[in-house]
Subunit: 359 residues, 2 copies
């Protein structure tokens, strides 16, 4: 604590991201839902021929080249697309732009177990939230999301549960709040979940946020997007332009645009991960784990003969990082990113070795 | 206006950056204080050999490799350094972290004519500000900055005036506010101004913000920094980690670290600009312009036989962009970035042609 911190800085509870080992550390990293495969080969060529002279100039503040590629890919206009410095920034700006602030504002609805950055944004921007408990099976309680509120923030698929709602259920939520923004965070949508983009023409209150970090193997370039009605995109631009006029750098814009254009590569990459995922679910279930039906690039899995925290610690000792949340209701689970087949095999071997040693 | 915008979004007045022509447009761009020279040649090599596989992982959230280079360069520890997505982001996070919010908070002091993003940040974060008028000669009224306040934000050198305060005057301001943060924005410090870094050991309330955009020819990669006591850096980290855990992408970290390490190149680059600047001041004065003593990579210049706005418009018609602010006290001036010698000669030719045509 410092006397120079203002009240907000003193009281905030920052988000804690998954551990990032120092460069050069040899670990199997299944803890932050990164993609195990390299990004599109187009990117290597782009970096090799990139003219650094360009870097002396500010980047395009509107990220036009990226927005155009997203627009083509999503079948919308570029006026429907916003780009930011990772989807975390886009989510933060969305909370800041659309949800009313102060203790008298109507609370927004969020699942009690979801991306743990949402309550942090809410606190940062003084947005009241009402947490809606997940059902006993960890699915989202859609009916509870139909109650009057100042807005909704929901991840579909949800994290860390890995479960997805069908489009019809998302539509019920969006339809129930015609005067408030319903933010659907689709960070993991490319791994077998239906996107809510199909609803955009009917619902001007729908804002979908996504990222290149998972499906496009580009967590390192920090490129996130929002898709929605132009009036929502304009609202995001107003807040962005009051904060940082040039959020996406020139290299990230070039790389991002190319990655979005390489649709085939992205699909193959995601398919490979889904295949490994199904095999991994079967393998863990065969070892007695309870594993939720994942529509993401990670598993939410509960070991039944060993405490999750113990398994997490023992895997860590063997150089395998997974994510453990020491929180009510989910502290018996591990969140395990889908790696390559080879990495998953090493995980299973390690689990067998640890659980064998427990007998 | 949209019904989905919250009160903040409806009422904010976003910052308006200088015009960024579409890529491929052939103009002489002297309007956003970019560096006319390419960045360090080390950067081209780095981009050519960059392994895109790295990009599948999140970047180091702490930007260690960049902070270490800054620490070496500035003679401080890396615990004294914070990195962000351009100095605009670092400034915004500083306003958000240190200045008290709400109508009952003590106002912070800012010059009435300075970087026009400061009042935008203040409004975004609900920080009361008190604008201290510049003196008649556009210098900062240091005595007025000694009054009790909730903090200070000042640019040294100041923009768009180009004038610098000596270190002793900055020290008087920092010393007068031992319980509040004095933020010194040194975006232009490399062009002949003394840095306040020399004051850091004595003043834990001093926070210096800077950028690679001007002195290092890297506006395109968005890398800004803050230097100050570890408790201030920790405060910035708390707000960053409540907003966006990974603000500096992996490519920007590599490029930025290399650029900071190439001290000789940076000094040569800045020296060349200062030489062109002195010649440009003399050339404009010979044409009857009033030109302030610049310690930056731009000039603040008042034409005396033509209205500034007219000259701005006519230069624009000739493909030369400079910056004009239609604001009280400064609407008779143009802010002109120092370009290459060749670009400046074209500017002078255009001015001669325009002013000759007016006779």
């Amino acid at each position: 604590m410092s006397k120079f911190w203002n009240e907000k800085t003193r009281n905030i509870e920052p988000y804690v991201a998954g551990e990032q080992p120092k460069p050069g550390t040899r670990v199997i990293k299944l803890n932050t839902n990164e993609n195990p495969y390299a990004p599109s080969p187009l990117i290597k060529e782009q970096l090799e021929r990139f003219d650094p002279e360009v870097l002396r100039l500010y980047p395009d503040p509107q990220s036009e080249i990226v927005r155009k590629e997203f627009a083509t890919c999503f079948g919308v206009s570029k006026e429907n697309v916003f780009c930011g410095n990772g989807s975390d920034e886009v989510l933060a700006l969305s909370f800041e732009a659309f949800f009313e602030q102060g203790k008298d504002a109507a609370p927004i609805l969020v699942p009690d177990i979801s991306y743990s950055f949402y309550p942090v944004y809410a606190k940062l921007y003084d947005v009241p939230i009402k947490k809606i408990p997940l059902m006993a099976d960890f699915s989202v309680d859609v009916d509870a999301f139909l109650q009057p509120a100042g807005g909704v923030a929901i991840a579909n698929p949800n994290a860390p549960t890995s479960l997805a709602l069908p489009l019809s259920e998302i539509e019920r939520i969006v339809k129930a709040h015609p005067d408030h923004v319903v933010l659907v965070d689709e960070a993991y949508v490319a791994f077998g979940c239906e996107s809510a983009r199909a609803l955009l023409p009917q619902y001007p209150n729908l804002l979908i946020v996504g990222t290149l970090s998972k499906s496009h193997s580009l967590a390192g370039i920090r490129l996130g997007y929002a898709v929605g009605a132009p009036e929502l995109i304009d609202g995001l631009c107003r807040i962005r332009d009051s904060f940082n006029s040039y959020p996406v750098d020139a290299v990230a814009q070039r790389i991002g645009a190319l990655a979005v254009s390489d649709v085939d590569w992205c699909q193959k990459n995601c398919s490979a991960i889904m295949t490994t995922r199904e095999r991994s679910i079967a393998t863990l279930r065969a070892r007695g784990f309870e594993v939720l039906e994942s529509k993401t690039n990670f598993l939410f899995a509960k070991p039944t003969t060993i405490a999750a925290e113990t398994l997490y610690t023992k895997l860590r000792e063997k150089g395998i990082l997974v994510r453990y949340f020491n929180k009510p209701r989910i502290n018996a689970f591990l969140r395990i990113t889908i790696g390559t087949d080879e990495e998953m095999d090493k995980l299973f071997e390690a689990i067998d070795s640890i659980m064998g040693g427990m007998k």
